[in-house]
Every structure is written in C-alpha cells, then in structure tokens.
C-alpha cells in the first residue's frame, strides 16, 4: 500500500482550525485508523477530532476547498467498512463529541453528541427507569453516531425496533458546509421524512453532529429462557410457533451445535455440548405478562421436543445465560486466526433450509461455519473460520460468503440486516436492486453529497455489472467486537 501523505497546506489549515492536538498525521497514528471491525483496510491521510458542530463545518469546508475525501468515524466497531477511508483523505473522529446534552425524562427524550457510547446513554438514564433500546452487541464500545449511520440493530430489536425507530431529529453538516436540522423532538415533523432517509445512509449524506432520541421505559419484569434442542428444525419451528401464539419476544437468539461447543469450551455457561441448537428467548413487560409469556414459551419449546428448558430465576442466572451468547464471537476467535461474520437476512421460516445450505457451502470450501443468529427476525450471522494469511483460503472465504448471500436473496431475504453495505457489499447491491433503483439512490445521495467527497465508494457499486467477485487486500482480520 502506498504511503499516505497529506498536503502540507491542508494539514496547516486543519491544525489552525482545530489545534495541533486535534490532528493526527504521522504514519504510526494513521495505522490505527486504517481498519474497523470489518475485513477491510485503507489508509487515511489524517484524522481530526472536532469538539463542536462549528469545528465540523470548518473541517467540511476545508475538505471541499482541498478536494479531499472525508469520512466520519465513531468507535470503528462497524462490520462493513463504513468508517474506513477507502479513497484516503480525512477521517473525522467524533471521539471528543461524546456528551449527553440533555435528558428529558418526562418526555422520554435525550439529546446527545454522535461520539457518545451507546451503553453510556442507557447507563445514564437507568436510574430514571429508562434506556436507549437499540443494543448492538458492541454497545459498550460503539457510538450512537455510528448507530445512526448504520441503522444498527441488536438482539432486542425484535420487539423494540432498530435505531431508526428511536431517532427523532438530527443535526448534521452536509458536505457543502451547511449545518442542517431534520425532524423534531415532537413527533411527526411535517414534510418528507428526511430523518428516516438519513438514518442508515452510512455516512454518505452528511456528518451527524447531534441526535435526538427516544428513551424507552425499562420493563417491570424480564424472563429469560434457554431451550436446548437435538434438532435445528425443531428449534426453528419453536420460533414460528411462539409468534403464532401472539407473543413477540423481546429477544430470540439461536446458536447451532458447533457454536455451542466453541462457546462452552470458553465460557462454561453450562451449555450441553451434544446439543444441535439452543434458543435464548427473553420476554418482558408487566410482571403478569412476562410470567404468562414465559410459561407459554416454555410450553412451545417442550411441544417442539426441547430436551431441556431453563428459566433464569434471577439476574445472576439471566446474565449467565446471556454470557454464552454475548461471548460467542470471542469464543470463536480463539479457534482460528481469522473469521468472517456474515449478516444475511432470510424470512425466518426458511431457517432450516438455509442452515442446510450454509453447511453444504462450508463442506464445499472445506471451512467450519458456525451459526449464531437473531432467529426472531431471520438475521443470520454465519461465522466462517479461515486463515487470512493463506491467499487461497481468503478467496474461498469470500466465495463461500457470497454463496450464502446468494441463497439469502433466493429465498426472499437481504444482503445485510444490521451491519450495513459499506465497502463490503457494495458490489452485491445489484443482486438486490435494479439499475433504476441504484441510479435513484445515487441521485438521492447526490442531493446531499453532490461532489461525492463524503465517504466515497460506499453503499452503491462504483462500477456497473453485477456479482463480480474480487478478492480484498490481505487484512489482519479479527473480531474485536461481535455483531
């Protein structure tokens, strides 16, 4: 990779604007910002740390003046390369814009800066009986600005929705240098839903500088169950049957036998290592509702031949059940120098067929593939274990992953449920969208980002043609943060 250098005049202007301590440009510093949680790598020319929206306006104007690409970045936990400077340029880190500006408990609103860590918001409002519902597994590190960019999900989105369902208003700096406001703290801002359009635009429309979110009341009671199965099909049918009984669990997670064994080996959560699948199901709400639903769920699990159903009796037992799920990616990381996590979505009734196909694909390429997924909403995270130092394995991992995605699309699903398209899947977009769709999306992006300086070469394929597989540059792949 060519050594990234920065135009000295741009560097001087940035230092003048932000102070010398808010601009990184030395090679050893740049190295830290060339990757995120994905398998992608690209070197930026510099990293800047604004403290205010005015700083961001200044940065955007300088980038425009120097015709330099600009990429926003939160904690860098993203799994699709959204925060990587694919074409080089300036990375704007929001690490120093991480304050809670206002908590309005009465109206269940909070106004925050983009660099605020997701879990810190929930922690700050917990004593008020509130939380910020979107809870990506990386929530102890990832930022709300990043969540907004990626429209992040998490295990509890089945009942509570994803980020976009909790964002009411945004302040952002557009690539032209304008500071804009979309939406309002009060509901139903008149006009087109620009807030809804902006959330999930993966940092290609503007740099978000302030976010107004809804806070959700903590449930009075929560019940967590673990059901152990000897057949994946039975576990899947359990998921369908639970909703058929009128119950929408707060969370409904599944792990296959391979993953269970990897996890148990590491976490010792008490998972039986001969099981084919476990379901981790959580119901919450009024005490009476949680109790009733827990009984119903356990009943459905047994009807579908669950070998055992464990119900957590207290918070400690609940944490133990979740420990296995939350540490699954860490456990897998011990088994292989590198792994690649997919993020396909399928209609959940297609789970058994999809798992069979994933297993066939693994055999075809000679990989172990573990399966962890948000079963309730059909969001799969197959984990392919391989050694990235081996070029052939790398290429095969990409090919296997593409075959899995191809199958997801065939059964009516999507290429990404919560990780984003970024630079990982832009080339796969034509499998889902027509040239007309993509052209329209491109022109919508151009409304906000006409010169394409902001987060270039993301989301939309840069070249025409479809399904072409290219091998990414060799990368130090790791899974610092799980999806």
């Amino acid at each position: 990779m060519a050594l990234a250098t920065i135009d000295p005049r741009l560097l001087r202007d940035l230092q003048k604007l932000l102070g010398r301590d808010a601009v990184l440009h030395k090679a050893e510093d740049l190295l830290l910002y060339e990757y995120d949680g994905s398998v992608e790598v690209a070197r930026p020319n510099c990293i800047v740390f604004p403290r205010t929206a005015e700083d961001v306006v200044g940065i955007v104007r300088l980038a425009k003046q120097h015709n330099t690409p600009l990429v926003g970045r939160g904690a860098g936990t993203g799994l699709s390369g959204g925060a990587i400077a694919r074409n080089g340029g300036i990375i704007t880190s929001f690490a120093r814009m991480n304050r809670i500006l206002e908590v309005d408990a009465e109206n269940q609103r909070a106004r925050v800066q983009p660099g605020l860590v997701n879990a810190d918001l929930s922690l700050a409002v917990e004593q008020l009986g509130l939380h910020f519902a979107p809870d990506p597994s990386s929530q102890k590190a990832c930022t709300i600005g990043g969540n907004v960019s990626e429209n992040s999900g998490g295990p509890h989105t089945l009942a509570y929705g994803v980020t976009t369902n909790h964002v009411l208003a945004l302040e952002a700096v557009l690539p032209g240098g304008d500071l804009v406001h979309f939406g309002s703290a009060a509901l139903d801002a008149p006009g087109y839903d620009l807030t809804g359009l902006f959330v999930g635009s993966e940092g290609t429309f503007g740099l978000v500088t302030e976010i107004t979110v809804k806070l959700t009341r903590l449930p009075e009671a929560t019940k967590t169950l673990l059901a152990i199965y000897e057949s994946v099909d039975e576990a899947t049918e359990t998921v369908v049957e639970i909703t058929a009984r009128g119950i929408t669990p707060a969370a409904c997670e599944m792990m296959d036998g391979w993953t269970i064994r990897a996890v148990e080996d590491y976490v010792h959560a008490g998972f039986p290592t001969d099981a084919a699948a476990v379901l981790l199901i959580e119901v919450d709400g009024l005490r009476e509702a949680a109790e009733y639903e827990a009984v119903e769920v356990a009943d459905v699990c047994r009807l579908h031949k669950a070998r055992e159903v464990r119900v957590a009796r207290d918070a400690r037992e609940r944490d133990l059940l979740w420990k296995g799920r939350k540490n699954a990616f860490g456990a897998v990381g011990r088994l292989s120098p590198t792994y690649y996590t997919q993020d396909g979505v399928i209609p959940r009734t297609k789970l058994p067929a999809t798992l069979r196909r994933v297993s066939e694909i693994g055999e075809k390429y000679g990989f172990s593939i573990g399966n962890i997924f948000h079963a309730g909403d059909g969001n799969l995270h197959p984990i392919i274990l391989f050694d990235a130092r081996d070029k052939r394995q790398f290429a095969n991992a990409v090919a296997a992953s593409d075959e899995i995605i191809q199958f997801c699309i065939e059964v009516g699903g999507s290429i990404t449920g919560e990780h984003g398209v970024g630079m990982e899947k832009d080339r796969l977009m034509p499998l889902l969208f027509s040239e007309v769709d993509l052209d329209l999306m491109r022109r919508v992006r151009d409304v906000f980002n006409p010169l394409g300086l902001l987060n270039p070469a993301k989301v939309l394929p840069t070249a025409k043609g479809c399904g072409e597989i290219h091998v990414r540059p060799a990368a130090a792949m790791a899974g610092p943060v799980s999806p």
């Binding site: 009465e106 429209n151 976009t164 006009g191 009734t349 919508v444 989301v459």
Partner: protein, 452 residues
Amino acid sequence: MTSASASLSARIAEIAGAKNVILDPAELAAYEIGGRAPWAAVRPESAEQIGEIVKFAAAGSLAIVPCGARTKLGMGMPPRQYDLALDMTRLDRVIAYDPGDMTLSVEPGIPLRRIESALVEHRQFLPLVVPFMDHATAGGTIASGVDSPLRQFYGTARDYVLGIEFVTGDGALAKSGGRVVKNVSGYDLHKLMIGALGTLGILTKINLRTFPLPAATRAFVVAFDAAAGAIALRHAIAGSALRPLVLEVASHGAAELTGTAPSSNSAWFLIASFAGTAEILERCSRDLHRMAEQSGAGAVEPIREERLFVASRRTCEFIPAALASSPGAAILKLSVLPANMLAILDATAKAADAGGLRWAALARGVGVIYIALLPPARSEEALARVARATTDIFAKCAALDGNATIPWCPSEWKSALPIWGPERGDLGPMRALKKVFDPRDVLAPGRFMGGI
C-alpha cells in the same frame, strides 16, 4: 372534447383499455379536488401500465394525481395542475402473505378491511386503524401518512413498512427496502413515500410487517372536569409499567363525535385500552383505577363491546366525524412534547372560544393532537374566525417547539391558511428530492409543502 384531448384519451385507452378510461363528466365529478375535476380518470391494472401512463403524461406535460378510495384527496393543497386521476382500485391484490414470517405484500388499491379479513384467519393484523376505516386503501393510508390510535403501542407506518415499489415521475419502476423484517441494504427511500401525498412516486407495492392479535383487549373511559386532570392521568400512565395500546385524551365534543362519551356530562375524557390475558387485563384495570383516583377523576367506565381494539376503532373516526359535523370544519394537527400537551389544549380552548368557534380536541398520548374547529357555515366570516384562532394556536405551538399543519379544511380557504405550517429550514433538500423523483412535476404538483 377537443381533438387534442381526444388523442390523449385514445393513447391512455391504448395503455389501460378503453373500458378503464373515464371521460364522462358526471363520473369524473367523483375525482374532483377542490372543485376541479380532471379531464380523465384511468384505472390501470399493473405497475407497467402505470409506468406507461406516467411516461405519456410526462411527455405531454400532464399532471397526475393517484387515488384509491378518494377519502383523503382533500389533504394538502389542491394540485397546481390536474389532468389525470390515476384510480388505483384495480391494483387490489394481496401479492404475498407469509403468516410464519409475519410479512405481507399488497398492491396499494386493496382496502384495509380486506387485509384485515385475510390476516385474522391467522390471528394477525396490521395496526393501521385509520380515518375512513371502512373505505381506506393501503396505498392511500401510506401515501397520506394518517396515523392510527394504536401508534401508542405499535408506532406508525414508518415503523412497519418494510419496503415499497413505486413508479417515479419519469415512469420508471423503482423500489427500496425489501420483504424481511430487518434490512439495512440501500437507502430507505420508502420512508420518503410515507405521507408524501403521491408527490414523489406512485406506490405499486407495499411490504409490511404484520403483528399477532392479542388474546383480548379492554378499553376504559375516565371522566374529568378539566383537561388538566386527564393530562395528569396520561402522564401517570406513561410513567407507569403499563403499556397501553391506546392512550388518548378527548374533549367532550371529540368523545361525542367518536361515540366514546359515556353517559356522564364531563368536559374531558381519557381513553385507554390494554391487551393481554384476563390476569394481565385485571392488573391494568386495577392500576388504572388507582391512578385515576389519584388524578381526581370522576367515573371510570369500561367500553362494553367485545370486539378487539374497540377504542381505536371508535377514536380513529374523529376526523371524518368532525368533517361531517360542520360545513366549514378545519382539522389542525399539532404535535408537541407530551409535557406541553396541556398548554396547547388550553391555548386551543382560549383561541377557539374567543372566536366563538365550536371545537373538539383529540390528543394522542404520544403528543399528537387533532383539533377540529367547527364553524356553523362555510363562509368568509367563518374563514376569518378560523384563521384568527389558527394564528393563535400555531403561535403557541411554535413557542413550544411543536409542529402544526392543517390536513383538512374547505378547499377555497387553503390559500388563506397555513396548511403546511410555518416554513421549515429543511425545505431546500425536500425540493431537491422532488426534482430527483419527479423532475417534470408530473406527480400531484403543488400538493405538498412549499409548493412541491
């Protein structure tokens, strides 16, 4: 008919079939907007036909307004130009329904009632219980952005529309989103379509998430002497562990118009409904009674009707009932933070009473408030009173950082009233988006905010 329009109608007939083109002025009256009828209405049967019609319209500088049951054509400004009504009622199929996946794909012309009966077999439903419920279509509901009392629990269409296919102003068939409940591939263009009144695209397919029907629901009406008590109870419930399906505060007039007023002659009512098993409902009832007592309520009466969602089925018809109750009815939509609901209700009462206007208010617990100003006539004098009251109410709403629009009023008043509320700072990007989706201004031009 002139020869020019004869050739136009011949081309439209070629696309959609002669029997699906309406030219008879008597029939076209049904498509009038603001007293103006289009020169033709056409009933296409496919997205492809719509694409052809739009291309033809774009080439001939014609303007199209899509419609379904035509219950909400009065919303927004009358279009600047209106040549062709695109009657979507032949696109009325359920394209796919997967109860196990809880997803539904429909054509826009399908009545919500038909969706309801298709879903109930599998004990599922859509939480769209909206004005004109007996006639409303899926497409009209989404395009108009009307809300449902069930939003208290289920959110609004933007929370459960999974994807939309639409025809742009260029006549191209495009889409965004998908059919799965979780999906972040591509930009959420479909969110723009919700409430856009057909100005960005003509919906041809709507994918939605469905929800399980609750075992049972139970609704209550709590009487109060003043709005303050009802709002205090709203705050108490919102701050409690209860998760009501519906939580609304209605003035006496609104309760009467929606058939939710019990025998008591109280000035204000709180309407709440809950879902669950008998035991859960018992708990909700107990807590509600306790909180009602603490907020100084009068009687707490159940709505005695066995149907599910009985409260929302009644209050969803507030707007149609108000429109029918006065020839000059104006419906204001205000949204404020919940803590400001009482202030805006007080300001409304003051402004309407000062103008000698009969009025009714229905406030959803989430802070979205519908005010009906009900003058006795549709006259210049009535307009002057409505305009004065609106000015005061909108000023108060703006001072509280709220949003205010007038979704319904007599069409000849619209140029004199702030239909779309005060001008917004984000109108620039909205105009730019309109140019992207409809560069030649074919789709309902002028109907939306800021002349879009």
